[in-house]
């Protein structure tokens, strides 16, 4: 790879890596009101099982089109839904840059989330991969689309904090 290409690709990787670290940080630190801002205005967000993806089935566990629906997820969490308090810890695994064309960066990264309940009980709550499409904006990188693919079809009790 030419030096200039190598630099560009390393910079892209660092930018994406830094973006993803900031993204999971707001989810892990209860700064959920900032979550929709990581997306463009008409961004898409889905949490879907690996099984449904492999079988070509459209059903998602969470499905948001546009920031309005993302904000509704957070407002429902804050005021409407009933669930026991808990926190997430996202551990991000390998990041692959799949493509970088026409201003969009396609990535795939693996993740694990440990969920800790108020009484201290910890569990491996979710694992899988996220397929993201990132675009540039005046405020830096934003998600045009994030598809979180859960390896398991089983959700333990409920999913309310986004992944």
């Amino acid at each position: 790879m030419k030096d200039v290409d190598l630099s560009a690709s390393l910079i892209t990787r660092l930018r994406v890596d830094s973006f993803l670290a900031d993204y999971v940080h707001v989810l892990d630190s209860d700064r959920l009101e900032e979550w929709p801002d990581f997306f463009v205005e008409d961004g898409n967000y889905q949490v879907i099982t690996r099984e449904n993806v492999e079988r070509g089935l459209p059903l998602a566990v969470m499905s948001c089109q546009g920031r309005g629906m993302l904000r509704d997820r957070i407002s429902a969490l804050r005021t409407a839904n009933i669930f026991e308090p808990h926190v997430y810890c996202h551990i991000l695994g390998s990041l692959r840059i799949l493509g970088n064309t026409e201003g969009a960066i396609q990535t795939e990264s693996t993740f694990n989330v440990v969920r800790t309940m108020a009484d201290g009980a910890m569990s491996l709550f979710a694992c899988g991969r996220s397929r993201d499409r990132l675009v540039d904006s005046p405020d830096g990188l934003k998600l045009a689309e994030r598809v979180v693919i859960l390896d398991s079809r089983q959700v333990d009790t409920l999913l309310v904090i986004p992944l």
């Binding site: 449904n52 948001c64 309005g68 026991e84 089983q154 333990d156």
Partner: protein, 415 residues
């Protein structure tokens, strides 16, 4: 089959008349749980196996559970549905260990015994031995060692199975009134839109009760009350089968009966709460009426759901005395256009493991399971709507259908 456990029957006593008080012991006692496997799941009950749409072609199979018994349901070469216990007659290994697939026969990986899709034993490896030595011997009757079979019945594309020869035909089991409610939803060929499940930290019966509990719908679920999906003053009602085992709870648009919601100051009515994008609450009427929410249960563990355009079957599987798995099969119709599929995908945000409505049902069972440990002899109380098991027109503020579930439980369990 195992002998009934005398210990459970000696240390368990149903409190008094009726089924409006339920002992917490039923949610925590492992002996009662074991007896349920025999008396309910292998008893005179119809249990959801799959949808015909999931096994359309000869050889197609799906693995599932009836209670804790692993079951394979398949389409035979001549197009019939057949269901067998997923257990080799030889040493008991699972015959199919994948979720679904297509096979010409069942072939056990352990010793290569083979069965046709009706469960007849068709091949025993080295049946005659090798070189004149070994083999099963002349008194081994292959016909006597097939797989344990379930009887199946299919209604409107839903496949049910039973281990018991005492189970009446499905139409008689559910009754004429409630079979018409299945007809109401399953009007056209179905399409599966996807699967997911919730693993719940509670005894299966706590979730089974929740589905029959129309009283909680507008009280636990802020979305139901605040957004007018289910409010106590909307039209609708409760239908219960004659024997109490099965029910339907439905809510419909139309003139409110009275202004009950205004008078009851309940947590779930948040008048200032608004959705920024309410497009997921859009409802295209497609079933010929104004029903917004219809929850139907078929004892013991099937739910047929219609919430706006979100259609699904939910299958409840016990996974131990304090754990169960709720398997969602989300549906559309074969002739849905792209716009309808998009609408269904949006409104499915209300249900499932992250459902704006359903997530809470996943949560409350665990609250009860923890508190139920405290005193085996204490009971719940369910006095709403009286003590009897009567259907009600208009009012869903009743626990009658839950009392009906317990009547079915007591009759199967003989407790």
């Amino acid at each position: 089959m195992a002998q009934p456990s005398l210990a459970a029957e000696n240390t368990f006593a149903w409190p008094g008349e009726g089924t409006w008080r339920v002992p917490f012991q039923v949610y925590t006692d492992p002996e009662i749980y074991a007896l349920e496997q025999e008396r309910i799941f292998q008893g005179p009950t119809w249990n959801f196996l799959c949808l015909e749409a999931e096994i359309p072609n000869p050889g197609d199979y799906k693995t599932t559970y009836v209670g804790e018994a692993p079951v394979i349901v398949a389409r035979t070469p001549d197009g019939r549905i057949s269901a067998v216990l997923n257990r080799c007659a030889h040493k008991g290994a699972l015959l199919c260990y994948k979720q679904h697939g297509s096979v010409r026969e069942y072939n056990c990986v352990y010793h290569n015994w083979t069965y046709d899709l009706d469960g007849n034993l068709t091949g025993v490896a080295f049946r005659k031995g090798v070189g004149g030595k070994g083999g099963v011997g002349p008194d081994f009757d292959q016909k006597a060692h097939g797989l344990v079979r379930l009887r199946t019945e299919t209604y409107k594309g839903i496949v049910f199975g039973t281990f018991s020869d005492r189970t009446p035909p499905f139409a008689k089991y559910i009754g004429a009134e409630l079979i018409a409610s299945i007809d109401r939803v399953f009007i056209k060929p179905l399409k599966v839109l996807g699967y997911h499940s919730q693993v719940l930290p509670n005894n299966w019966k706590l979730y089974a009760e929740n589905n029959k509990d129309s009283y909680h719908a507008s009280l636990l679920h802020v979305f139901h009350n605040t957004f007018g999906v289910v409010r106590p003053n909307m039209g609708g009602g409760i239908k219960i089968s004659d024997n109490g085992w099965h029910h339907l709870s439905y809510t419909e648009r139309g003139a409110p009966n009275n202004d009950a919601t205004g008078r009851e100051k309940v947590r779930s009515l948040k008048e200032q709460y608004r959705l920024e994008d309410a497009s997921m609450m859009e409802h295209k009427l497609e079933l010929g009426d104004q029903v917004t929410n219809s929850i139907q249960t078929v004892f013991p563990t099937l739910v047929i759901q219609q919430i706006f355009n979100a259609l699904a079957v939910r299958q409840l599987v016990p996974r131990g005395v304090d754990r169960c798995e709720l398997l969602w099969t989300v549906l559309g119709f074969e002739d849905d256009d792209a716009e309808m599929t998009t609408l269904r995908m949006k409104v499915n945000n209300l249900v499932g493991p992250a459902g704006f409505v359903s997530m809470e049902d996943g949560c409350v069972g665990g609250f009860i399971q923890r508190a139920a440990q405290a005193d085996r002899r204490a009971t719940t109380i369910m006095p709403m709507g009286g003590r009897a098991i009567e259907p009600s027109q208009g009012s869903r503020v009743t626990e009658a259908a839950v009392r009906g579930f317990w009547k079915g439980w007591r009759e199967c369990m003989k407790l």
